[in-house]
């Protein structure tokens, strides 16, 4: 039954829904960045690997943002539109409903990865960095998108208002993304701890270590602990607590 829910949610998102518009906006952003990276004199000292890394990082940050936007609407949005009660009145297990919605939200991230591939190809040709970059986006990015998308879904289950759940999701992303903009954060003792516990910060650090510093994939593997943990933990909460979270009104039973 999870497949039926996920399938319908995907159709609602991608056929006539806002999925294509969001991905279009995402591609415009990547195009502007690629054009600047390739033509702007101030940025033209960028080494190819750095340009590829920058693209993966922007794709990851914005792709996860779009995933959270979709997932944060999944339940609270249906409550607001009055379509949720009809779904709850079917014999479909509550767990299937929430897991199906999480799967559908994750397709937003996968679409972002697909759209990113041509940009990575044009920026990284000849330095053998395109393959690893796509693989990193698929693996590390999917972990982060699943984890944070799941948190967006939990916000959505816990909020009666769509605005509340969207604001919660965006605030969380802001809090996680802000430390990654501080210079030299991973190099200091406390900074390294902050980077390691932050799923976005640790993912971006791991990606840059492989793409720019050309480290071995296992060299900074411990940085993936946070993205893996958040993905497993959130998926676990969604599966275990799903039946108590999927209700007509917000809050735990």
């Amino acid at each position: 039954m999870t497949r039926v829910i996920a399938g319908q949610e995907c159709r609602d998102l991608w056929i006539g829904g806002r999925g294509p518009v969001l991905v279009f906006g995402f591609s415009v952003l990547l195009s502007a960045m690629t054009y600047l990276a390739a033509t702007n004199r101030a940025m033209n000292f960028l080494e190819q690997r750095e340009a590829v890394n920058l693209t993966v990082q922007v794709a990851l940050a914005v792709g996860v943002l779009l995933t959270v936007v979709v997932s944060a609407d999944a339940i609270s949005g249906e409550r607001e539109r009055g379509t949720f009660e009809a779904l709850l009145l079917t014999p479909v297990p509550r767990r299937a409903i929430i897991v199906g919605k999480l799967i559908a939200a994750t397709t937003m991230w996968l679409a972002c990865v697909v759209v990113t591939i041509p940009y990575l190809w044009v920026l990284g040709r000849g330095v053998a960095g395109v393959g690893p970059a796509v693989l990193l986006a698929l693996t590390v990015g999917t972990l982060v998108a699943t984890g944070l998308g799941g948190i967006g879904l939990l916000f959505s289950a816990g909020a009666n208002s769509n605005k509340t759940s969207l604001a919660g999701g965006l605030l969380l992303l802001l809090v996680l993304f802000a430390p990654t903009q501080l210079p030299a954060l991973p190099k200091t003792g406390v900074g390294e701890v902050i980077t390691r516990i932050n799923p976005i910060g640790s993912a971006l650090h791991y990606v840059s270590q492989i793409l720019v510093s050309q480290r071995n994939w296992t060299h900074d593997l411990s940085y993936l602990a946070s993205p893996v943990l958040i993905a497993l933990l959130v998926t676990g909460v969604v599966i275990v607590a799903g039946p108590r979270l999927v209700r007509l009104t917000a809050g735990l039973k």
Binding site: T39, F45, Q48, Y119
Partner: protein, 153 residues
């Protein structure tokens, strides 16, 4: 122990650096390893100097140019990015708690100029991808709109 006698027993700090020289292109990230041997704690500092008279902004080259060094032998790894083309010298200086500065051997870095990104092929991709996605979005919406109007008429 007499402090003066103890001071006489202390040997001079030494710094070794490897490799001796490096070549790179602009934008490339490089790594130099240094071993600092000192009986007293101090601070190791990375420096970059141009041999062509080009201005070097150290902050652009490296985010981490100072590292605390405890007593005894310490291995340090310095990561920096070649920001300007030309000939440069990268070296490590030890600033001990007491006494004179100690400089390590220079690492000669030759950085070649390079137009890194191919503008010619980036622009078509930057235009084609959003154009394709935009067109698909519009076509999808128009088709749904036509289907509705067709059924309603």
């Amino acid at each position: 122990m007499n402090p003066l006698y103890a001071l006489l027993l202390l040997s001079d700090p030494t710094i070794t650096t490897s490799p001796d020289d490096l070549t790179a292109v602009v934008g490339q990230t490089l790594t130099v390893e240094s071993v600092v041997s000192s009986d007293r704690p101090g601070i190791a500092h990375l420096n970059v100097a141009s041999l062509d008279g080009v201005y070097v902004d150290l902050e652009d080259w490296s985010q981490e140019v100072t590292k605390a060094v405890p007593a005894h032998e310490t291995q340090l790894e310095w990561e920096f990015q070649a920001v300007n083309p030309g000939r440069f010298v990268v070296y490590v200086v030890l600033i001990p708690e007491h006494g004179s500065l100690v400089a390590g051997p220079p690492v000669h870095v030759t950085v070649a100029r390079r137009e890194t990104l191919d503008t010619g092929s980036a622009v078509p991709v930057a235009i084609a991808v959003p154009a394709l996605l935009g067109a698909l979005t519009v076509i999808g919406r128009v088709r749904m709109g036509r289907r509705d109007s067709g059924r309603n008429s």
